[in-house]
């Protein structure tokens, strides 16, 4: 699934993995957090080989916000967040005041404290996602992995989640590594992007370098327009209908009809 990948994520970096479906984004994320083992190669965390850590040690360093949320039994929000303390507690140990305080802070930071008494089933998609982020930061990790945290959220909630992550990164000095389908959100928040396709690295670097029209068209196999977002100054990517493809514009001497940009 994954081939020839070599990368280093910097401390406190906001690192976002993008790419078309089946590019291996989630597989890479799972390999990085060791929920799936890689067949060859090596991963190290904070200078130490990943497989030298126990599961519990790993969970104290890195937390995961998985894609989708499984709610089989009605746990309360507060108790769900408190589960983030597990890697810090022995099997039979009981949570202490300190643990409750940490969970409370995690809920305050994610604006979920007013939901504390509800069960997960009673929440909206955006609220659930914030609760799971609260559980993750309750682990007090130095690294936060997220698998498409904004998928299936409306625009306001997408931005809210991304702003929340940016705040957490700055206030808690957390390194963030996430998979995203939304290139425009990624462009606005990421320090660096990793563009993947078919399990390989297409490009890695700052958004201005990775979000290059021809490269993206090759990766996503669809016509695209890349311009500048006038509000943020970051790159903006818009997919175009097939009739705007380069092949079509070669036949049509006028080029891409409505775009005031020069295409050879």
């Amino acid at each position: 699934m994954l081939h020839d990948i070599s990368l280093t994520i910097g401390s406190e970096e906001f690192f976002i993995i993008i790419g078309p479906n089946g590019a291996g984004k989630s597989s890479l994320l799972k390999a990085l957090i060791a929920t799936e083992r890689i067949e060859a190669g090596a991963i190290s965390l904070f200078g130490r080989p990943q497989d030298a850590y126990s599961r519990r040690e790993l969970a104290r360093l890195a937390a995961l916000v998985p894609q989708g949320l499984e709610t089989h039994f009605p746990f309360k929000v507060a108790d769900t967040v408190l589960m983030g303390r597990s890697p810090h507690l022995g099997l039979l140990a009981v949570e202490q005041e300190e643990d409750y305080a940490i969970a409370r802070q995690a809920m305050q930071a994610t604006d979920t404290i007013h939901l504390a008494g509800r069960t997960l089933e009673q929440l909206s998609g955006g609220e659930r996602q914030r609760v799971i982020i609260a559980r993750a930061i309750c682990q007090q990790p130095r690294l936060l992995f997220l698998d498409e945290p904004t998928a299936s959220l409306d625009l306001a909630h997408q931005i809210r989640i991304m702003d929340l992550l940016e705040n957490l990164r700055q206030e808690r000095k957390i390194t963030i590594c996430m998979v995203s389908h939304d290139i425009n959100l990624a462009a606005m928040y990421a320090d660096r992007l990793l563009l993947m396709k078919e399990g390989r690295v297409m490009k890695i670097g700052p958004p201005d370098v990775v979000l290059e029209e021809k490269l993206l068209e090759k990766s996503y196999e669809c016509p695209l327009l890349v311009d500048e977002n006038p509000a943020t100054g970051t790159r903006r990517v818009v997919p175009l209908p097939a009739k705007f493809s380069r092949a079509a514009s070669v036949n049509n001497q006028k080029g891409r009809p409505t775009i005031p940009v020069d295409y050879e």
Partner: protein, 336 residues
């Protein structure tokens, strides 16, 4: 600072154990006092009198017959209830239960095969029962994991089919056996606590460590419900913990099947009621399921001994008459 946001575990654990412990003690006392010879609740008075008169017939009946039976009922109920709880976590399905999954049926096939071959009860028959239940569970999980969509239903369907197959095998074995064993095996199959004898109670020395293992793993059980990846990222060694829980639960259930035959639905009824009343935290649910399951089966056995005027009913009939309608209700509600 008191913090009402979170479920405080220690206080609640003590309270729940105290309440359910008292309930169990009362059930044990009542069940030991009441028998086919004395069905009125006033039997308690005779019971106390009999206990103070060593050598009387009542005294012998209580110590040699009723007490071992009542204790067996308690242990069987506790084990099946806890077994149900564990399977519900492992399969992330509140309808999972040793009997419904075919685990009990598989153990019964193994046990009957062992009995017919004529190997000694321990370790022979118990080992073959364990092998039978592990094999059944393996097949059920394999069948259910193959079907991606509608995973919950396919699991139940696989269990029902394995149960039917186990039933057919059992009938085949019975038809091959000679008739004086027949009545005994049939009665045992329906779930029978009458063959309790003090000599078999030490087998529970093997079951008590299972309770302990599962109690120690109560916190990881909570985390497993969040999903495999989430549990792993929260520090749970998912493979190792799941396998430990699976083998422990299957082992204790197959031992219980050897002792009492097929008693169904205890592992469905008790964890369900407890989850509704005390919440989904397994650090509370594990001890509560033990005490609640024990109380429930002691009570069901009391009904089985006293309801019918012409002899006694197998306790499995009572538990199925209570459990099966509840199962159907739950299935209906899941689909809503």
């Amino acid at each position: 600072m008191t913090d009402l946001l979170f479920t405080r575990i220690t206080g609640r654990l003590l309270l729940i154990c105290l309440l359910l412990g008292l309930l169990l003690a009362a059930a044990l006392l009542l069940a030991a006092a009441i028998g086919s010879s004395n069905k009125s609740p006033l039997a308690i008075i005779d019971f106390v009198r009999a206990l103070s008169e060593p050598g009387s017939t009542e005294h012998t009946i209580i110590w040699k017959i009723r007490l071992p039976r009542v204790l067996l009922a308690a242990m069987v109920g506790a084990t099946l209830s806890l077994g149900g709880l564990v399977f519900q976590v492992l399969l992330r399905n509140p309808l999972a239960e040793p009997y419904i999954l075919g685990v009990s049926g598989g153990a019964a096939v193994g046990a009957i095969a062992g009995m017919l071959i004529g190997i000694p009860f321990f370790p022979g028959v118990t080992a073959s029962a364990f092998a039978g239940s592990m094999a059944t569970l393996g097949i059920v999980m394999l069948l259910a994991s193959g079907a991606r969509a509608g995973g919950k239903d396919s699991l139940l369907l696989a269990g029902v089919m394995m149960n039917a197959f186990a039933g057919a095998l059992i009938m085949f074995f019975i038809s091959m056996s000679d008739s004086n064993r027949l009545h005994h095996i049939l009665f045992w199959l329906m779930g029978d606590l009458a063959m309790a004898d003090a000599a078999r109670l030490p087998l529970f020395g093997l079951i008590l460590p299972c309770y302990l293992i599962i109690f120690i793993l109560a916190r990881p059980m909570n985390l497993l419900l969040a999903g495999r990846d989430a549990a792993a990222s929260l520090g749970v060694n998912v493979r190792q913990i799941s396998l430990t829980l699976l083998i422990t639960a299957t082992f204790m259930v197959s031992l219980v099947v050897c002792l009492s035959g097929l008693v169904g639905f205890v592992g469905l009824v008790i964890p369900h009621i407890l989850r509704l009343t005390i919440g989904p935290d397994h650090r509370l649910l594990v001890p509560a399921s033990l005490l609640g399951g024990a109380t429930y089966l002691v009570f069901c056995d009391l009904l089985a001994r006293t309801l019918s005027t012409g002899g006694e009913l197998p306790v499995g009939i009572i538990t199925a008459m209570i459990g099966a309608p509840l199962f159907i209700f739950l299935l209906w509600r899941v689909r809503q």
